[in-house]
Symmetry: C2
Subunit: 252 residues, 2 copies
């Protein structure tokens, strides 16, 4: 079989939307860095600046990398399905590790300062996002990468995986907005209402975060931008389908 034979054309507008999402994602990371650098004294592990590791890691891991992991199937349209799956899973692992560093940073910071843990809505949402993220990864791995699950089981679980993946991503964006708001109100207090530069910059960061969520969700939900099944997968899925149907007592 010629490998060139199953190369499907990329939808015309898709690359522009993907490029725009990456520009937005990198801008979000850069503005987070700028905010922490300009108004919060920068980043360090061994001082009170440890707190600042938290927002930066969360934005890189649970916003930018998580968003990009969701886009993998839209971007890599002609690579073998297994390669794309592994890349999707690996990007989520990187996102998880970076987010874990961000989580350790904030708990460490609270402990050294003697602050209470997990009292705020941001922290409740954050812990929930983290648990859901790990659960989704484990279930996804056991269905799609571990060789045990049957084709029909995968087909039935796939839409749920996609739906909850998108929801966890959006919930991460919402949690980031709550955290940003918390950081602003703790630090600025009533100065926030005088349109100080930090407040305006952070508000713009919040809108950029929401825009990144919007663009990633838009790319994901366009039906005609979904990854086309490849010749090899179609053949494979037919084999699996025949096998599964032959297994089932209700067939024929």
């Amino acid at each position: 079989m010629e490998s060139g034979a199953c190369v499907a054309a990329t939808p015309r507008a898709l690359p522009y939307y993907v490029a725009f999402s990456q520009l937005l994602g990198l801008t979000v990371v850069a503005v987070t860095g700028a905010w922490l650098g300009l108004y919060r004294g920068g980043i360090a592990w061994e001082s009170a600046l440890k707190f600042n590791v938290h927002p930066l890691c969360m934005v890189i891991g649970l916003i930018f990398l998580q968003g990009d992991a969701l886009l993998v199937y839209r971007v890599f349209r002609n690579e073998p399905k297994r390669t794309t799956k592994v890349l999707h899973g690996l990007l989520h692992v990187f996102a998880f590790i970076i987010a874990l560093v961000g989580l350790v940073a904030v708990f460490d910071y609270h402990r050294t300062k003697g602050y209470a843990d997990l009292y705020s809505l941001h922290s409740w949402c954050g812990i929930l996002v983290f648990i859901l993220y790990v659960a989704q990864w484990l279930v996804g791995f056991s269905f799609f990468l571990f060789p045990g699950a049957s084709f029909s089981l995968r087909s039935r679980y796939r839409p749920q995986h996609v739906f909850f993946g998108a929801f966890i991503f959006l919930f991460s964006v919402g949690t980031a907005l709550l955290g940003l708001k918390e950081a602003l109100l703790f630090q600025l207090g009533t100065k926030y209402s005088t349109f100080v530069p930090e407040g305006v910059l952070a508000n713009m960061l919040g809108l950029l975060l929401a825009c990144f969520g919007l663009v990633v969700l838009y790319i994901l939900t366009q039906a005609e931008w979904k990854r086309p099944p490849q010749a090899e997968e179609q053949a494979l899925s037919m084999d699996f389908k025949t096998l599964t149907e032959a297994d089932s007592p209700s067939s024929q």
Copy 2:
């Protein structure tokens, strides 16, 4: 034609999910009322309690009613399409009017207290949601209820309308979470970290809001729960299709 002939069966699980969404939505409204009643002195138009009109109206209008307006096409599956459309549009009008009262309440409150307007991330997101909501309603009305738009134009715009409708709803939920967080930090300050009852109740309200968003989004995105096209619509759409294709210079 027998009207009974085009009644499609309702998917088995759908009514349970819809019932659960309504239970959640009403719980969200009740908990918002309980929070304002127990910890914020209740609601009144002619006093400092005017502020409390804002969260209650926003939760009833832009969360509960907006969510229900999105579900109309899943719930009313066998009524004529036009009736369902009018109900969808009307629910959005009610949601808009209630939200407008909530918006006036907070601007009035700010004016009497001499507070600045529109400085916070919550207010930026809120104004954006409000503008997007009105724009989406006007564009939706001119495409789907105003008789001018052709069938092919409607078909092309429909997925965009659904996507942006869902996004505006989720953005409303996110904005409500930001507002809740703001109200807690302004009022409770450092007491928030001592797990005072108001903080715990409001955090639970935040999670309930996110759950309502999740359940509405889940019902909306299940492909097999979409409203089936009815015999009359299919006949009509065929007519329109023939007309549109006959109009087009490229046909035949």
